[in-house]
Symmetry: C2
Subunit: 268 residues, 2 copies
């Protein structure tokens, strides 16, 4: 994980080194950057004041793709309430703004032992056994490195990955099992990484290549229970060089723990 180093005498300002292990084809990917923004937001509160460490509704607009290496995070706490706090966080390099975030964070997130949902309309995908879902490799094609797949253990349902064997499904959806590589407990911050970890759904349409994120918003709905998570990523509409992607994540108890929506671009 990338460390945030406070800048002396600059309140809520941090230096980070954008890490080569979190890149897709050499570029730091959106979920990793969003987690850095959330880490800065969590550390931007008033001294001794209430703490709101958990990402709850976090948005980032990506302006220009950052380079590897040093970057600066500047956090400005806009409001600290009882339940939630809202913080603006900028990520810049050499004075150029790379990503701008608005993050609502919370003191406590729901857990799986609540009273149960009033409505559970989003049903987790039916998946093959874990053993029948191969782990997505860090280097799917020689020379193409998807760095975050060293950190995220992603096991996609082969029925949704026909594009890997020359038979794209055409559905605009991929689904599978996921957890962090280091173990069984996915944290709320980890969900920000997972919410952007699946391949672009344009692959399922036979359109390969990078689909850079323009805007990404993640809602963390609960702390995941331990165990493998189920995840679906799908597009509603792909046209004119732009696609939306919805990523839904359920925990091992079947609770929806994360919903992400992004607008990304592609070249057909």
């Amino acid at each position: 994980m990338t460390d945030l180093r406070p800048v002396p005498d600059a309140p809520a300002t941090f230096e980070v080194d954008l890490d080569a292990s979190w890149t897709v084809m050499g570029k730091p990917y959106g979920g990793y950057l969003l987690r850095l923004l959330a880490q800065a937001a969590a550390r931007s509160g008033p001294e001794g004041g209430p703490d709101h460490p958990h990402p709850f509704a976090v948005s980032a607009h990506f302006l220009t793709s950052p380079d590897l290496g040093p970057a600066t995070l500047t956090a400005t706490r806009l409001r600290t309430g009882r339940r939630v706090a809202t913080t603006r966080v900028d990520l810049s390099q050499g004075g150029a703004l790379r990503a701008a975030g608005l993050l609502t964070t919370t003191a406590t997130l729901p857990t799986a032992d609540g009273a149960g949902p009033l409505l559970a309309a989003a049903v987790p995908p039916v998946l093959p056994d874990l053993a029948d879902c191969p782990r997505s490799p860090v280097e799917p094609v020689p020379g193409v490195v998807v760095g975050h797949l060293a950190h995220v253990d992603l096991r996609l349902d082969p029925a949704t990955t026909g594009h890997l064997t020359g038979a794209p499904s055409g559905t605009g959806a991929v689904a599978g099992w996921v957890r962090m590589a280091e173990g069984d407990q996915v944290s709320p911050l980890d969900l920000l990484v997972i919410a952007d970890a699946l391949p672009p759904v344009t692959f399922t349409l036979g359109v390969f290549g990078w689909a850079p994120t323009s805007e990404l918003t993640v809602h963390v709905r609960a702390v995941p229970a331990p165990g493998w998570l189920r995840v679906v990523q799908r597009a509603h509409w792909v046209e004119d060089g732009w696609l939306d992607e919805e990523c839904l994540v359920w925990d091992s108890t079947g609770r929806l723990v994360c919903e992400a929506h992004q607008l990304a671009s592609y070249r057909a």
Copy 2:
């Protein structure tokens, strides 16, 4: 419509009067505020520089509910690119920040006469004839005023509004026809208002009362063709006092023109 008045000698700063006709139970509603933020963003570019007037991916975090009356919009253009621009806009009253926005706007939006979608996975709802869908009234219950329904002509499918007659559907979804009251051409800015104009889907669960928006992001995918739009609003998950709402809007040609996602709170 509410006018933006430039503040002399303050760049990209505007005064507005939050209008009583755009309130729900006396509080200005989210879609109206988001449109004001987008209007300010569109007017924040460099003098003589490229213009990016259309909302494309626009996010707002609502900190505290504003009051009616004067408010100040402060826009800061973060980047002006060839295709898109990104702007930060704050809405404040008496020095207190009420809403913080990040808005990516564009010079040109797609129109309905393109090559057609690569993927159209979100299918518009099948609705009864317009004549069989009554217009949602501004004052559904004596003393309860939903002001924006004077501006937005909303015709919900009666099959989704059983809650109005004591028989909530339990589905977490409402659907119908919609356009602006003044006519047949819905603008991209109007879509921001429409994307938050439907009743809270908690009503369909028999939970009545205000569901204040915490975070709202709208993606405008195309300029709507003239004519009535079809709209669906639905929740994926309602639990622990929080719900998501997805609002999808299709134009008269069947193209998805707008997708909105919000996190809101409710009291059961």
